[in-house]
Symmetry: C2
Subunit: 296 residues, 2 copies
């Protein structure tokens, strides 16, 4: 997003505590005099407050983004996803920032009875601390939008793929197959159905949406109009890596506590703004393997 | 609830920081040797942790319960309703408490397109910090239920009326009419439609639900199968107080930022367990006026 905004001519302030962010990803951006990097933690309210002076829009994408390990660190999702969001909201309010884009997640739908799942699906029951923390952040953002007039754009992403991908099933499987090409171990039964989106398509969608006039709260699902089984993705990864491993399964329909065996979002709202993804899920998986394989 | 549990033979630990709680309300309870009062703040994780040792159920009703003043103190709802809930959840998890009842609110539905509003209404957009904080707490409770097996009972209340009522429209109007019986000033246009429930009926409903087997997450709307206009309630209050004030209106369909002009919940789920309210809204308003008028 930083690279794209700089390319589009904007001046950008990036804030990262680099707990999961990777410094080399901003090497190119740092060559631009329109980019400022703040190496600090948004858990400190003063950090957001200082950075949000005189800005036109905030892209609040800082988060603990791993849905899988919530129960091992029950307070991490609260701190990184809710408290940080409150600090960002207060910074926006006190600085009069007019627009805020937020990276939510399809996990907020829990195990939806409606698939493909639209933005106004039945009031969900949360099944993971990650989903709970994102629905909490969404609620506070919406209340700030209503109470203080900050226009907010909430994006419920499927899992993202592509360049600079650092966690998720493709990197897990890739790492296993580099270490032992003859064997792959899979959490769950491999039949989990998930939807994915290529990172550049996601960025296009966000930038399309925030230029759109409309109500003070706008919520968009972001995904492709398709899903795949984990086993499909395994096939594409193995073909791209040219390996034929023996595959073992941990078993069960869920890969971990709070795993949702079927995620597929209805993305007609964002498509209604004219946006279309350019890559299929298979192409995005292959692009991710190519990225992981490239010498760095 | 404390008095009722003691009457039913239970041993009860009450925790209150008395920020809005009233000490005289537990005078009777304190005469029981089965009641322990902890005067402390649940924002301190150690308080909940110590109190939750060897308990069979937690009734987590501690909250900032006033929806109206959220925008004046944007962080209070987060602290009192979300952080306190996390402390209670961690106390339940670490002490192996099997059941948790939680006081949520009909405000979590925002301005629902479906009225009467069922528990699985369309995914709401939050319009108040209070609603946002309660939906956040609900999500974390649901995730703890799913992740750690704590059975949770989430109750989405309409506004409560009756004995020990300390805030809301009846006490506001009562106080005005005691001070100047000839004049009553009303926020909004008086046409807001709201539903109310008598406190003893609410307690009955909670105790009915938590004895019910079923899924690890159970969510119940609690209200009467009726609503009234603010103007109806004004008529009942004035009749009960025997006053005929001139009424002025601040105007607008909302009494305050985040006010919902029409709250009416579908309570068929809790009715399906056999529970019925004993008082109508009018009777509950009259009971509240009688309580406020009684010498203390």
């Amino acid at each position: 997003m930083v690279d794209r905004l700089l390319r589009d001519g904007h001046t950008v302030i990036g804030i990262d505590n680099f707990s999961t962010g990777v410094e080399s990803f901003v090497t190119a951006a740092l060559r631009s005099e329109r980019f400022t990097l703040v190496r600090d933690d948004l858990l400190d309210p003063a950090v957001a407050l200082a950075a949000a002076k005189d800005v036109d829009a905030i892209f609040h994408f800082a988060a603990n983004a791993d849905v899988r390990h919530g129960t091992e660190h029950p307070l991490r999702d609260l701190e990184q996803n809710v408290l940080v969001t409150m600090n960002v909201l207060e910074a926006a309010r006190r600085n009069g920032v007019p627009r805020l884009a937020f990276s939510s997640t399809g996990s907020v739908y829990g195990e939806s009875p409606v698939i493909p799942t639209p933005e106004n699906a039945p009031f969900p029951v949360q099944t993971s601390l990650y989903g709970a923390s994102k629905v909490a952040a969404e609620g506070f953002i919406q209340a700030y939008a209503e109470g203080f007039g900050i226009r907010c754009f909430i994006f419920r992403f499927v899992s993202l793929l592509g360049e600079r991908y650092t966690h998720g099933h493709v990197v897990d499987f890739y790492a296993q197959l580099v270490e032992h090409p003859e064997h792959l171990h899979v959490l769950g039964d491999g039949r989990q159905r998930k939807s994915y989106l290529y990172i550049a398509d996601c960025i296009d969608a966000v930038l399309t949406a925030i230029e759109h006039d409309g109500p003070v709260v706008q919520i968009y699902n972001l995904g492709t109009d398709a899903y795949c089984e984990v086993n499909d993705s395994i096939g594409w990864i193995c073909a791209a890596m040219n390996v034929q491993p023996e595959i073992t399964y941990a078993g069960g329909s869920r890969g971990w506590i709070g795993d949702n065996p079927f995620i597929f979002l209805d993305c007609s709202a964002i498509r209604g703004l004219g946006w279309r993804p350019t890559l299929t899920i298979r192409e995005a998986v292959e692009r991710t393997v190519a990225y992981l394989s490239a010498p760095r």
